[in-house]
Amino acid sequence: MKTSTRIAAALSAAALGVGLTACAADQGGTSADGSFAPSGDASMIVPFSAGGGSDASGRAIAAGLEAATGTNVVVENREGGSGAVGYSYLLSQEGDDQTLLAAETSLSSIPLSQDVDFTATSFTPVAKIGEDATLLVVPASSPFQTCSDVTTAAGAGSVVVAVSGAVSLDEVVFRLIETETGVTFDRVPYESGGEVLTGLLGGQVQVASLNPGEVVGQLESGDLRALCAVAEERYTDYPELADIPTATEQGIDVAFTQWRGFIGAGGMSPEARTYWADAAEAWTQTPEYEEYISSNYMQPVTAYGEELDAYLAEYDAQLATAIGR
């Protein structure tokens, strides 16, 4: 239903807070000594609707940048087209130093699988603030005990899995497993993690791939079980997840992490890029950042500037071999 667009307006207003006068975001200036200072409000585009992981990270980053710079960072949800709408909007803000976008895997996966006007290099990457992986989860009553049980069953017959979009993280994960093991899953498309959870609890799908933050409540209650973590390493930092083996341990050599961070419009000035990256780095030193990372069961892996450029280039290549056409 389209009502979710209303949340967009709402949350953008929410980030502003009450009683603040919003001016139209105008261009910040680069002063004579080459440093950048924003003038007026900056905006943080979230290309997904309110309530999901991208929204949470966009709002956390916006709050962090606000605290670090003293500038209002207005969160605007511009959802639609599995994220394509938000990125396309940023594309139209070429050269703007104050429009940021809460980005993740979709930056690379959308151009690889959809007919859009941008590629992963159309924008100015600013900061990666953390990494997130997924767990393969099943209902408590499921006969599957390990991830290799799942692939074996898929090879012998059919296993129904949930995916939340043509370019979503869970689609990527299942595609990688299919490529690695040579099996094929039957997919049922959903539109959000919450819906996938409903389908899984109701037994309409057998397996789903979800971020730990999305399922930890159901794991603790015993309604769902995690079979394996599709990650490089176990979640040793989080006691409640530490017992979950990785897919590799179970004989499926697949690991895929989702990065979270933010990017600026293409053609952003180097001064502005440094300014926002510094602000992000300052935020990652705060307790609020730690709280954000731990409550979402993420890994505090960061990257800025050229380091991030290199990371993204490699990431893009990895994705292209996984899901490219």
């Binding site: 967009a8 087209g81 498309p189 409903t198």
Partner: protein
């Protein structure tokens, strides 16, 4: 359970909580009065206000906003034919006619009373049976949802006005508009003509503002302005006879709303449409529907409020959002450091029961606040139309803009307004269009998922007893009167479309349905 209730009352009944609950209800009502701003927006906008509060206080205030905003939307639906959100579209049909007949106060009062009764009934069910209901709701997978959407679409028959073919044509147009944007599953962009703005689909709220608010303004300008309504104050107070007529519709609406609200995703819009459709079928006064029947306000308003309450069942018991607003509330849980999920009832009993009790308090406040205020709000119609319609134009456009901070929204309003005007001029019914637009994407999702489950075979629907039951109900809702007529003719009595259908209340009666 009594212990839990006592715990809830103890937690909720502090001066601080009561105060914030009141503030929430009041702010919510104000937000609901703005076209385009509904409960979802209200909750999301005011979320930051609550960050510094104790989680229970914060949630109580947000729940107050939720209910307040819904009621605010009802007020504008009745007075100026501008629904605040999808769930109050149906209310405009008879509510606005009541206002034009000088019964705005009664319409607003029955909406408040119906909502209150619905809230109390659904709350009792929620408190007693939340976990089992939540488990039951999980049985609704794609095939069951598909059947449910068919039931929703079957109500088109009730919304088609004089000609069923026209109603069906408009519903198809709505379904078609609903397919604009990225397709579920395959991710294909449909009918977007290269426009980025259209990728996310035709925005529903803007269309509604255009069709109803702007369309009505243009229609009235063309038809000749309405005189300001100069009903006397005591005419605005609800009559005893109106209250008596509303008892059964309120109860039926509450029950339907509750059942549909428990199901994640379908929510209060479907509930309000189905409640109206059912009411029109079973009412002994079905000829008055569309011309200001109080039942046409009482039933959908009770249904959408009951659904709004029932929406909390999957939210609290399973950690699954029941609708858009509860999704935002669920997000709020994490902000307050609470982990939503099946364990919430056990781990946070004070919070959960306090919240449930506060729903009761919030609805009581809403009733106390709005019963005396309903006639006062109705005085708004005394504003001469020469001032009123330009003001409606401004608030419609500013409301539309604020949905996504995009002028594109205003253009959608203008386009939908022109369409709404034409539809009014040529007697094309709007409700089926809205129904198609709202249910279309949900219908398609269920269709795609069902066929994915059945590997292309849609007959898996018939393997589900729940789905079959729902489909039978849909058939009865759509063709019940014709079947009934057939049965009566068979049994030797001349049925048909003779006199005004006057069988005993509650029995389906032959309806002159345009196309036999």
């Amino acid at each position: 359970m009594i212990d839990n209730l006592l715990l809830g009352f103890e937690a909720a009944l502090s001066w601080q909580n009561l105060g914030w609950c009141f503030v929430g209800v009041l702010l919510g009502t104000v937000i609901g009065l703005m076209p385009g701003l509904g409960s979802t927006t209200g909750v999301a906008i005011l979320l930051p206000l609550t960050l510094a509060m104790d989680p229970l206080t914060a949630l109580i205030m947000l729940a107050g906003i939720y209910y307040g905003a819904q009621y605010g939307g009802t007020i504008t639906s009745v007075l100026i034919s501008t629904p605040g959100e999808a769930a109050s579209v149906v209310t405009t049909i008879d509510g606005y006619q009541m206002a034009r007949n000088g019964r705005a106060g009664a319409a607003l009062a029955i909406a408040a009373i119906g909502s209150f009764v619905a809230a109390i009934l659904s709350l009792a069910l929620l408190i007693a049976l939340a976990p089992p209901f939540a488990r039951w709701a999980l049985n609704f997978g794609p095939p069951e949802n598909l059947a449910l959407m068919v039931l929703g679409l079957a109500t088109i028959v009730s919304f088609s006005g004089g000609s069923l073919a026209r109603g069906l044509a408009m519903a198809c147009l709505g379904l078609l508009l609903g397919t604009v944007g990225v397709a579920i599953g395959t991710g294909e962009a449909r009918y977007t003509f290269g426009s980025v703005d259209l990728l996310s689909g035709i925005p529903f709220v803007e269309v509604m503002i255009g069709l109803f608010a702007l369309g009505e303004v243009l229609h009235q300008v063309r038809q000749g302005a309405e005189a300001p309504i100069r009903a006397r104050f005591r005419d605005l107070v609800i009559k005893g006879s109106e209250l008596r007529r509303s008892v059964a519709p309120v109860l039926r609406g509450s029950g339907l709303g509750f059942l549909l609200g428990v199901l994640p995703g379908s929510g209060s819009t479907l509930a309000s449409f189905i409640a109206y459709g059912v009411e029109k079928r079973v009412s002994p006064r079905k000829a008055e529907f569309g011309k200001g029947a109080i039942e046409g306000v009482a039933a959908p308003e009770s249904a959408n409020n009951a659904a709004a309450n029932a929406n909390f069942i999957p939210t609290l018991a399973l950690g699954i959002p029941g609708g858009a607003t509860t999704a935002v509330l669920l997000g709020a849980f994490t902000i307050y450091g609470l982990q939503p999920g099946p364990l919430l009832f056990e781990e946070q009993p004070r919070l959960v029961w306090g919240l449930l009790v506060s729903f009761f308090i919030g609805n009581l406040m809403l009733l106390v606040l709005n019963l005396p205020l309903a006639p006062a709000f109705a005085q708004m119609l005394r504003i001469p139309y020469g001032y009123l319609y330009p003001i409606i134009l401004i608030t419609s456009c500013v409301g539309a803009f604020s949905i996504s901070n995009n002028v594109f929204s205003i253009w959608i309003v203008l386009a939908a307004g022109a369409a709404g005007f034409v539809m009014k001029q040529y007697d094309l019914p709007m409700a089926p269009l809205v129904l198609g637009l709202v249910l279309g994407p949900l219908f398609e999702k269920a269709l795609v998922q069902t066929s994915a489950i059945g590997n292309g075979d849609l007959t898996v629907v018939f393997a589900s007893p729940i789905a079959v039951t729902v489909l039978v109900l849909a058939g009865l809702l759509a063709f019940g009167p014709q079947l009934w007529g057939l049965v009566r003719r068979r049994s030797g009595r001349s049925g048909g479309q003779g006199g005004p259908g006057g069988p005993s209340a509650g029995a389906p009666a032959p309806t002159p349905a345009g196309v036999a």
